[in-house]
């Protein structure tokens, strides 16, 4: 059984859905962050697989961009979470619902 690109796509889809499910179902901000990372990396996987399949370099280049942006985002996001935790002693997003209309 050879591993065709379809497998990679399927794996990426599964990872993406797990990530999305984590965002929807978990309340801890840190865990939700990890879920976001999971989704981003699912996408990275599709980029790399497609890049190799089509024999172009752009797939890998895009991944680097995504990684850089994700790293920056994590820095900001973690800082926010730490700041919130210091004020409220909790990282549960359900308790951070001040923007309710």
């Amino acid at each position: 059984m050879t591993v065709t690109p379809g497998w990679y796509m399927a794996l990426a889809a599964v990872l993406f859905v797990i990530g999305a499910g984590g965002i929807l179902l978990r309340r801890n901000a840190l865990v939700m962050f990890m879920s976001v990372e999971l989704m981003l990396n699912a996408v990275n996987l599709t980029f790399v697989a497609a890049g190799r399949e089509l024999n172009v370099l752009e797939g890998q280049v895009s991944v680097f961009f995504v990684m850089v942006v994700a790293a920056a985002e994590v820095v900001v996001g973690l800082a926010i979470i730490v700041a919130v935790f210091r004020r409220r002693q909790t990282a549960s997003v359900d308790e951070l619902a001040e923007l309710r209309g």
Partner: protein, 623 residues
């Protein structure tokens, strides 16, 4: 030439500026003397400059001050021709006498300097009006005389009635000015210029259709009716009597109110192309003449008699210029300036002598107490009643004769004019009898006395002019017509009949005058008859036209304004603005529940949206 012509306007202007700055400090009588000298100076210069015209070889001169509105082909330019020369002489001549008289009349008034500032402002404005060489400058003068009229009517502004009268005059004039402005726009749209020469030559060359000429002429008539107090815009003039009497004499009898007549005469080239509009001018004039004369019969206030009389006489002038008898109209303008200024100044002298009493029923028997005032006013009385050889006879008779000569329906107008002449003689005689004859009906403490020399000298001079002023244009020697000939040479003038018909018409109008005088003399000879009853009340209140206007226009305007302010503005405009605001708030209220504040639900929305988009693309086979 250039300098001296400019000086005619600049002298009163300088006088006005000096008095504006230092009038109060100069005080009495210095301020009056400065103002009088400025106007006398203008008169002398105008007289010298007009000599060429009298010799019959004067060219039309123009003086360009500066380029004003190049886009309209308009320059600040004065025009010196026979018509403007005549108007200038009348304005500055009568103006000088009235300035002199005012030094005596305004004696002791705290606003002495202010009064002469305004008077000089008026003379300046009126000279700009008559000397302008284009419609734009004419309009500037037109508005400036309106301003000075307003300032002088409400001169004693502490009195509510005077302040109200000033406002009334200003607002009613503004109604007329709308017509004038629209007329100027039409003129500019047709000729591309507002210069007199361009416009009138263009009109002669046929650049004006009859319809356009009629529209322009009728709109000019609206303006003229406002300024010259013709139906239906005459209502401001009787109230204008709230101003000091010299003002009534100068502005509201002799000069400013004749601006409409001057304007129609000046634009004769346009009215010539619009016979319907010209006939309308004559009809408005005739109707006004008769209408105002009937009201004048029943007035008790001596100045209001003269005010309605002025409206009536202005009606004659309109009748004349409407019948294309421009010379006759301007001629009556001139003689009327003499005898009506005299009547007003005489009335002022009477009021002065009677300690500010204006009700004729409280006068009587003043002939012996005020001999000079009486003698001079008697001359004016005969002049306005149309008794030859006094001035009013010649000019009024010429207008009536021309109107009769036009034939057809014009002869109806002649009949109206004749009845008006009879009524004029009647109410003037009534005024003379109530004031000067019969028993004394003075209130206690009133000691009538003749006015000082300063006031009687102008009366005597004007009386002299009222006697001989008519002789400048008699059927035997038409000096004035020759004088004005160059101005109207391109216009077809209507002429008075010759021969026996002229004699018959003259005899008829003299007879009308004598019947009027006789009837009034009989009625008021021995004692003052009761002037009650419905008819007297109706006439005395001027047919209640003021109340009608107050009820319809003033109240209508107020209701309209109230509706706009409290209905349309509050409910409509504010309502729309507030409605948009509250609609937005309410829409926000509906949409608020979407924002739960839970990150999960936002995430779900994003994912649902992404899945939805994906499904849509897939269903279209786009992937």
């Amino acid at each position: 030439m250039e300098l001296s012509l400019s000086l005619i306007v600049l002298l009163p202007l300088a006088g006005m500026l000096v008095l504006f700055g230092f009038g109060k400090r100069i005080g009495e009588p210095g301020a009056g003397i400065i103002a009088t000298l400025a106007v006398v100076g203008s008169f002398v210069i105008a007289g010298v400059l007009a000599l060429d015209f009298f010799n019959g070889d004067g060219p039309v001169e123009t003086v360009r001050w500066f380029e004003w509105l190049p886009a309209f082909g308009v320059e600040a330019e004065l025009r010196w021709d026979q018509l403007s020369a005549l108007m200038t002489l009348v304005v500055t001549g009568v103006g000088s006498l009235i300035h002199l008289y005012s030094i005596g009349y305004m004696h002791g008034d705290p606003g002495f300097g202010r009064f002469f500032t305004y008077l000089n402002l008026f003379i300046t404005s009126m000279l700009i009006l008559v000397l302008a060489n284009n419609f734009a400058l004419l309009f500037v003068g037109w508005e400036l005389v309106g301003l000075s009229s307003y300032l002088l009517i409400s001169f004693w502004f502490e009195r509510d009635t005077a302040a109200a009268a000033g406002k009334k005059a200003f607002i009613v004039n503004r109604v007329g000015d709308v017509g004038f402005i629209v007329a100027l726009m039409l003129i500019f749209s047709v000729f591309g210029s507002l210069g007199f020469d361009t416009v009138f030559e263009g009109a002669r060359r046929g650049e004006l259709t009859v319809g356009m000429a009629t529209a322009i002429a009728l709109l000019l008539l609206v303006g003229a009716a406002g300024k010259s107090a013709q139906l239906p815009l005459y209502v401001w003039l009787p109230d204008a009597m709230e101003g000091p009497t010299p003002v009534s004499a100068l502005i509201h009898a002799a000069t400013m109110v004749t601006a409409g007549v001057y304007m129609v005469a000046r634009t004769g080239a346009i009215f010539e192309l619009a016979p319907i509009a010209a006939a309308t001018v004559a009809i408005v004039g005739g109707a006004t003449a008769l209408f105002a004369a009937t009201i004048a019969i029943a007035q008790r206030d001596i100045k209001r008699v003269l005010a309605y009389s002025t409206i009536s006489q202005l009606g004659y002038m309109f009748m004349g210029v409407g019948a294309a008898a421009y010379v006759a109209g301007v001629f009556h303008l001139m003689t009327h300036a003499f005898f009506k200024a005299l009547l007003f100044l005489g009335a002022g002298s009477v009021i002065h002598g009677m300690s500010d009493e204006q009700d004729m029923h409280k006068m009587g028997g003043l002939a012996r107490k005020m001999p000079i005032t009486f003698a001079t006013m008697a001359i004016a009385w005969l002049a306005i009643s149309g008794i030859p050889p006094f001035a009013g006879f010649w000019s009024k008779d010429e207008i009536l004769a021309v109107v009769f000569e036009r034939g057809g329906l014009w002869q109806v107008l002649w009949g109206v004019g004749l009845v008006t002449a009879l009524l004029t003689a009647f109410y003037m005689t009534r005024m003379m009898w109530l004031t000067f004859f019969g028993e004394a009906r003075w209130e206690d403490g009133v000691e009538p006395h003749e006015s000082p020399r300063l006031m009687t000298i102008p009366l005597v001079v004007l009386a002299g002019l009222s006697v001989v002023g008519g002789l400048v244009n008699t059927p035997f020697k038409t000096t004035l017509e020759h004088f004005l000939d160059p101005v109207f040479e391109a216009v077809h003038l209507a002429h008075a009949p010759d021969g026996s018909l002229a004699w018959i018409l003259a005899a008829v109008s003299v007879a009308a005058g004598i019947i009027g005088i006789g009837a009034a003399a009989l009625r008021y000879r021995s004692r003052v008859p009761a002037e009650g009853g419905l008819g007297w009340r109706l006439l005395g209140n001027g047919y209640y036209i003021d109340d009608l206007y107050a009820g319809v226009f003033a109240r209508g305007g107020k209701l309209g304004a109230a509706w706009l302010a409290f209905r349309l503005d509050v409910r409509g405009i504010d309502g729309a603005v507030e409605g948009i605001g509250s609609l937005t708030r309410r829409a926000g209220g509906w949409l608020r529940p979407l924002q739960t504040g839970f990150v999960r639900s936002y995430g779900l929305a994003i994912i649902a949206g992404a899945v939805g988009l994906l499904a849509w693309f897939l269903s279209r086979g786009a992937l």
